[in-house]
Subunit: 352 residues, 2 copies
Amino acid sequence: MATTINITKRTDTKINNVDFNNLIFGTVFTDHMFYCDYKDGQWQQPQITPYQAMSFDPAARVFHYGQAVFEGMKAYKDEEGKIFLFRPDQNFKRINKSSARLAMPEFPEDFFFEGLTELLKLDSAWIKPGVGNSLYLRPFVIATEPAISASPAKEYRFMIILSPAKAYYAGKVRVLFAEKFSRAANGGVGFAKAAGNYAAQFYPTSLAQKKGYQQVIWTDANSHENLEEAGTMNVFFRINDTLITAPTSDRILDGVTRKSLIQLCDDLNINCEVRNITVSEIKTAAKNGSLKEIFGAGTAAVISPVEAFEHAEELFELPEIENSYGSLLKDSMLKIQHNLAEDKHGWRYEVR
Amino acid sequence: MATTINITKRTDTKINNVDFNNLIFGTVFTDHMFYCDYKDGQWQQPQITPYQAMSFDPAARVFHYGQAVFEGMKAYKDEEGKIFLFRPDQNFKRINKSSARLAMPEFPEDFFFEGLTELLKLDSAWIKPGVGNSLYLRPFVIATEPAISASPAKEYRFMIILSPAKAYYAGKVRVLFAEKFSRAANGGVGFAKAAGNYAAQFYPTSLAQKKGYQQVIWTDANSHENLEEAGTMNVFFRINDTLITAPTSDRILDGVTRKSLIQLCDDLNINCEVRNITVSEIKTAAKNGSLKEIFGAGTAAVISPVEAFEHAEELFELPEIENSYGSLLKDSMLKIQHNLAEDKHGWRYEVR
Ligand SMILES: Cc1ncc(COP(=O)(O)O)c(C=O)c1O
Ligand SMILES: Cc1ncc(COP(=O)(O)O)c(C=O)c1O
C-alpha cells in the first residue's frame, strides 16, 4: 500500500525488555506510534514516530472539557506470520460516530487504515502467534487547542498506540446490578466511546469491588429495571436455550463483539433474541432455575462468564453448565480471529 | 503566609503583549502556573513555574477515560490594589466532591489556598481594577498515569492556570429548551464539574446555534419536562414577582453564583423559591404574561439575561422589563465581589 505517512523509525527496539508471559494489560507499549494533527480545518500530514511523551499546553481542551474519544481493537498473528484485524471497518465507523457526537472532526478512512497498516508492519514482532495472544490497538482523538472557553476545539490530535496483550483468562466474574448509579442518560453520549463515560463509572465500580463484585451491570437511569451493559462489555443472558441481549440505543455501545455473536448464533443455530431484559425477569429465572448463563462480550476478553450477581442485597449464584453457549461462541470467535476457521462473513482483514 | 511551594519565576513578562481591551475569553494566560503531582499515594511538592507546555505520555489516562475535573473562579482587584476571591472555600469543596465522584484523590486545603495565593501575588499585575475586569482562575486535576486499562489512575496532576477576563457584556441570549438531547442522568455525574459533561453538550449546543440560539436549557433526561440548568450556568425564572430556580440534585451543578443569589434575594426581600419548574408552567406563564424574566447565573457572566426561548418549534420572546431582578442582583453581586459594598456574609476572601 502506498502511504502518505512520514515515518521516523527507532533504531533499536524495547521488545527484549518485555516479559510476554507477564503482561499487565495496557501498561507496555510498542516501539512506534501513529499520530495526525487537525488544524486550520483539516487533517495534516500523518506521522509515525518512536513511542514517546508529547508536549501539551495545560489549556488543551481535552484536559478541561473531555473532548476525547477512542477505540479498542486487536491484531492477531497466525502460525504463518500473517497479521489479521477483526472487522476494523466497524471500529473506523464507530470512532467517527463518537467524534461527531462530541463535535469533533471525523478522521479520513484512508489515513485510518494506512496508519494501522504501517504501524503494525513496523511493530509486527510485538504480535505473538497463538490463540489468546494479541496486540491491543488503541486509536484515539483528543482536543489539543489551548483555549478554555466551553466550546468545541479547533485543533485535535488523532493517535494510535499499541500494547501487547496476553491471553486473558481472568476466570469468572461476580457482578452487581446497578440500583442507584447509572452510566448513561437518554439523549446523552452512552452510545459513544467518549472518554468521560469511563471515568464516570470508576467510583460506582469501586464500591461494587469493595463488596466483592468485579463489575457493575448498568441498568437504565430512570427505572433501574432494564439491564443494559457492563463497563466495557455488552451482556448476554441465557434463559433455557435462548440467549437474550439488550437492543442498542443512545445509551448503549454498539459492540463489535455483540453484533458478531448475534450473527454467530444464527450460524450455530442458537436462538438469540435482541430485546429488553428486566432485572425481575432475570431474578425470576435465576430462582426457577431457567437462567443458565450470563456473560459479557467485548474485544478485551471476547467473552467473560459471570458466576454470580447481586441485586437489592440478594445474591444469585449461577449453575456450572455443560455445553455453555459462552464457551462455544468464544471458541468460534477466536478461531475466526486467529485464521483457524472459515471466515464466512468476511470479518478478517489481513494487514499487508 | 508561609509556603511550601517550590517557585521558579519568569525573568520577563508577557503582559506587555496583551491587549486587555480585546481579550478573547480563555485564550491568554498569565506568566506563571501552579501544579502539584500525586503519586505513590500522596501529593508531592507543589510547584510554581513559568506558564508552559508540559510533557504527557500518550497513554495518560485523562486522554482515554476522561478522569478530569475542574473549577472556575475569579479574582478581583479594588481601586487600592487589594485582591479578592469570591467564596473560594466553595470551589475548594466542590473540586474535591467532583474528584471523589470520579475516583480521584482529594487535594489538600492548604495546598489549594497557598497555590492560589502565591500564584495571584506573582501575577497580580494581570488583575485589572474596575467592575467587570477580573482574572479567571482555572484549577483542574487530570489523570496522568500512562496505563490504558479502564480503571482509576494512580497518578494525577493538580494545576491552576490564570486567564485575564474582560467585562463580559455579551448582551441577552436566546435559548432552546432541550427536547431530545440531555446533559446528565440520575445517578450520574451531572453534579460534578467533570470534564466529560462539557464535551457531551457541544454537539447539541451547536445544533441550537445553527437555529439561532446561543445556549440550551437542559431538561431532565426522562420526561424533558423539568427545566434544570444551562451549559455553564444555573437558571432562574421570574413569574410575576417570584424567582424560581430548580433544586440541586445529582444531575445539577451546585453553583456558587446560584446559592449566593438565593441568599441575596433574602437580603433584598425578593421572593425566591427553590422547586421544580416545568416547561409547561413556563410556557403558560409566557403566554399569559406572568413570565417576566429568565436569566442564567454563573461565575463567567454573573447573570446572563435571556431574551427569548424556543420549545417544540414555538418561540417565546420575553418582555423588556423595568426593575429587572437580574440587573439588581448582578449589581449587588459585582459590588460585593469588587469590594464596593458591605460583605454581610463573609464571602470576600482577601489574597495577601
Ligand atoms: C461501554 C462498552 N460496551 C461494550 C463494549 C464492547 O464493544 P466491542 O465488542 O466493540 O469491544 C465496550 C468496549 O469496547 C465498551 O466500552
Ligand atoms: C454546569 C454548570 N452549571 C452551573 C454553573 C455555575 O456555577 P458557578 O456559579 O459556581 O460558577 C457552572 C459553571 O461553573 C457549570 O459548569
